[in-house]
Subunit: 347 residues, 2 copies
Amino acid sequence: MSIPETAKEIHLVDYPTGKPTPEIYEVVEAPVREPGDGEILMRVVFMSVDPYMRGRMNPHVKSYIPPFQKGEALDGGAVGQVIKSNSEKFATGDYVVGYNGGWREYYTGPTDGFNKVDPSLAPLSAYLGVLGMPGFTAWAGMSQILEPKEGDVLFVSGAAGAVGSMVGQLGKLKGCKVIGSAGSTEKCDWLTGELGFDVALNYKDYANSTELTKGLSQAAGKGGVNCYFENVGGMHLEAAINCIAFGGRIALCGMISNYNDTKPEPGPYNLTNLIGRGVKMQGFIVSNFMLLARDFYAEVGPMLAGGKIHFRETVYEGLEKAPEAFNGLFEGANTGKAVVRVAPDTA
Amino acid sequence: MSIPETAKEIHLVDYPTGKPTPEIYEVVEAPVREPGDGEILMRVVFMSVDPYMRGRMNPHVKSYIPPFQKGEALDGGAVGQVIKSNSEKFATGDYVVGYNGGWREYYTGPTDGFNKVDPSLAPLSAYLGVLGMPGFTAWAGMSQILEPKEGDVLFVSGAAGAVGSMVGQLGKLKGCKVIGSAGSTEKCDWLTGELGFDVALNYKDYANSTELTKGLSQAAGKGGVNCYFENVGGMHLEAAINCIAFGGRIALCGMISNYNDTKPEPGPYNLTNLIGRGVKMQGFIVSNFMLLARDFYAEVGPMLAGGKIHFRETVYEGLEKAPEAFNGLFEGANTGKAVVRVAPDTA
């Protein structure tokens, strides 16, 4: 395959205040660098947009991953084909997925965090979703923090998202009663239909945490919520803590409702419930559990092959749509995993 | 020993709003009931006042223990002598400690939660403190939730209290750098003096969580706080979460700063730190770990006998002082364990 002299990448022009606006991005035509020793050149087919990227747009937050730099290309997960390899890890022509390489048409760089994928087992984009970081995130939160038991009541917010939809399905396979929240009738229908959730709550029907508490309490039944998988924050967390069972577990994966706040939101008013009810609330990011990636593939691969796990994707066409795809995460515009098709999927 | 016909007990006349006032209590002269089958009659020597009792004064809170009933005697931990036993568990003359029997001069009832104590090993009152529920609470939170390692930075709030003073000493014995907060110079001097804490912060020197964060951050050093034992809530929790290390642990034992609030306080504004830093925050009450009581005595008994654990008590004289002793918990009036001497310690 020929290597172009230049290609497009999306730069961060300025850090956003509140919800990112189009002005903070710039599409730049930049030279395509030849790979150095141990490096690869990848033609990106799909790039991922994920909520954690909003955190990298805050320059002053102490977090597990450094902020994006102004005037440089953004970055993130991507799947594509190796065009040229100076690495023993991959051959030219291999399809690979990595935590880098997004927000651009071509990636040149090291192979850390890249793995070879098999396009005959699942569509390439699935390696950014159900078989990628979101799927692994769901699996890790369930298996390492919530540890749901048969008969437990599991509540997951952001249930129609890439992570949440996987959480709920894993819960059903464990024998849980699964309650999900999402932001539209269509999403709720998908949850209780194809995905087999027991109850779906459209959170837009609930004005505040008191109302949501009533709805969740009714859905959970007398024993309350044993496991809560948190993607949203705000009134969702407060309602879940109101309904949490004795000995309950809460996995904090994300709080997307807060990510665009220009001033910090107060935490829930009912944290003392965690004391009286002996509740564990644990935050995590998937890299905390990276050593378990093999276990994830071993468990989830066969589930997917066996048709026990379903997934949807919202596909945006063309690199220039990446900012729109990203904002879709905060606007509830996406169902399942949101990806951007950067080049035709030739696999 | 002779059994009196009547004795004093303290009744709850009304549920408090905010800080309990003297009017909510009534000292009642009530008949002393003969023990039934399997029951004991105990002459109370010391009764305990503990922060959790404030929760039992809220009639509508769903918690691990039912609320006190209006017009009935209050209840709580007590240590005393068995005057008459219809139980095979104890003989007349035995000294016993139990989770019931407080707020009265004589206790008649079942022996659940009562254990025999040896007054020659430690003063009777110690079985309500360092060798009792607060000591066990400290040990359980440390060994079962925080799991501090040598070199970890441990922060404990309410550090001059019955639980906190034990937490810090256990931390020093584990090889931690220990930081405690308390509300007076005298208390802080005790922490860094007799108890061997590395740093004591007088929280009254800090106007808000931002200020306390600076003080704590400086005390903790660059690596931050690995373990936080929470007794206070409010700005303490927010400051601790600001300073928490990657992979940190937080044991939620109490939030005494909130217990008299007439409207709920918001939670900390920085809970998303728990996600990015992979932090576990676990609430608990000591009864979650009751099966480990034997391990507690096996570990802490020799520490105490060997002079490795120090403790102080604030002793109030006479049953009528119980309401004052109780309010002292919220006013910072007590150092170490607060107890009420109900009868002369004849042991």
